[in-house]
């Protein structure tokens, strides 16, 4: 089964590349398909149990002419968990997070078809890559709206328009069909996300809504905020989400010490991070992947940006719940890579 999945992933990526080659040649070679993404080695100690996770997340980006784009993201990882006898049990996973065809109609409308990341909140679409997010573990409420697979299978329209030079409005609306296969798993749902972005202040406020239409029908809604002032190397992000299972929020503040001798100095490469999050359970719904009881968590971390797109992450989290309080220690190293799909493409 695993070999079949790996084979299917390879076939899809290779076919996308071949189509992209044809498209690029037909267009007089304007661009070259690119494989980018992140590779990392992550370790976690959760409540005294150790986990190790080497991971590769390649992203294919293949333009087909001026309007079409094929993009796909795979995920290959080995998950090693410490067994009671001290040894490690290993599991291998390979997944295709999304494979989508984008058709850019005009400046404010893009039509997307295929398997795509569910646009709910901002974490799933923007912050999930291992080389982007400031803290290793996703927020407690991450699965609200994105569900366990974090992907949808169907169609989406999205885009952005600017009523004035100081305001931009972005939107995404989608419908997802149900698919119970292990590989393309998605739930039947429909929803939208919209946001207002102020470029001069780098401030974005948005909201999301989803109607889950499979089995038990319920609404999920959320709000997100992102603020990176120009005058201070500060990164503030926050989300709130509510579903039938429960509701919660996370708020994260990161401050890059680039004011001390510049961003390239030894101290300027350091970024302390703090995140506060709470989840309040309303009712038990099987398979919702949320904490079983109301949970609070505080995360303290340090990111260190090394040259050549390498980053070291470390954080300590203290989790409180009626099931017991635990300490979580995370450490990892990530590398952001990018190369053309074939030799000579970087010229």
């Amino acid at each position: 089964m695993k070999i079949q999945r790996l084979f299917l992933t390879t076939i899809i990526l290779v076919c996308s590349g071949i189509f992209a080659c044809a498209g690029s040649i037909a267009q007089g070679q304007a661009s070259v398909p690119v494989i980018s993404g992140g590779v990392g080695f992550l370790s976690t100690t959760n409540g005294g149990t150790n986990y190790l996770e080497p991971i590769i997340v390649p992203v294919l980006s293949a333009p087909l002419g001026d309007h079409l784009l094929v993009e796909a993201r795979g995920e290959l990882l080995e998950f090693s968990s410490q067994a009671t006898n001290g040894g490690y049990q290993r599991q291998y996973f390979n997944e295709l997070d999304y494979t989508q065809l984008d058709y850019t109609v005009n400046s404010w409308l893009t039509i997307v078809g295929g398997r795509f990341l569910t646009p709910f909140g901002m974490y799933n679409e923007r912050l999930i890559p291992i080389w982007i997010h400031n803290l290793q573990d996703p927020p407690l409420i991450f699965v609200i709206g994105t569900r366990t697979s974090s992907s949808s299978l169907g169609g989406m329209v999205r885009g952005a328009f600017a009523p004035s030079s100081k305001v931009e409005v972005n939107y995404a609306a989608y419908f997802s069909a149900a698919d119970k296969s292990a590989y393309w798993g998605a739930g039947r749902a429909a929803g939208f996300r919209t946001g207002i972005f102020l470029p001069n202040r780098r401030l974005e406020i948005g909201m999301s809504y989803q109607r889950f239409l499979q089995g038990q029908r319920f609404n999920s809604f959320g709000a997100h905020l992102s603020w990176q002032p120009y005058t201070v190397p500060l990164d503030v992000k926050a989300e709130f989400a509510h579903s039938a299972s429960g509701y919660g929020y996370w708020a994260e503040v990161a401050y890059r010490l680039s004011r001390f001798h510049g961003a390239g100095s030894a101290i300027g490469r350091l970024q302390p991070v703090f995140r506060m999050q709470q989840f309040f359970r309303l009712q038990q719904i099987a398979g919702d992947s949320l904490p079983g009881v109301s949970t609070q968590q505080a995360d303290f971390g340090f990111d260190y940006y090394l040259p050549h797109q390498v980053r070291i992450n470390s954080n300590y989290s203290r989790q409180f719940s009626s099931q017991g309080n635990v300490n979580i220690w995370d450490a990892g190293i990530t590398y952001r890579f990018m190369f053309p799909l074939w030799p000579g493409g970087s010229k």
Partner: protein, 125 residues
């Protein structure tokens, strides 16, 4: 114990936000003071009409957004406004690679056609 942790965490968050807001305000005041000083100096040498024209300069946050970026190019500003919210620019990227990446980010980050063109010129001129 649990409540103490939460209080400490909330206090850290609050202090951090207050610090950043105060720092932002201080910089804005400093920028405004510099602008006023420049305007006063210019007033001595220029006519009153010219001075009124000069006071209609960009707002402090707009100046700061340009000041923090070295090149002051429009593409650099667009990159900082959209892409720089999540990540730094890629290193050693060719124009052909950049076209593919920016096309993808146009969909992901909901960039306009103009943003795409300017950012492309910035990361791979």
């Amino acid at each position: 114990m649990k409540r103490n942790w939460m209080r400490i965490a909330l206090a850290c968050l609050f202090v951090g936000c207050v610090y950043c807001v105060v720092q932002t305000k201080a910089q804005n005041i400093q920028t405004q003071t510099q602008t006023q000083t420049q305007t006063e100096t210019q007033t001595q040498t220029q006519t009153q009409t010219q001075t009124q024209t000069q006071t209609a300069s960009p707002k402090p946050e707009e100046k700061a957004s340009k000041k923090i970026l070295r090149g002051d190019s429009e593409g650099e500003l667009r990159f900082a406004a959209h892409c720089g919210r999540c990540h730094a620019p890629p290193e050693d990227i060719s124009p052909r690679e950049a076209r593919a990446v920016v096309r993808q980010m146009r969909v992901r980050a909901m960039l306009s056609a103009e943003d795409e063109r300017l950012i492309l010129n910035y990361i791979a001129p």
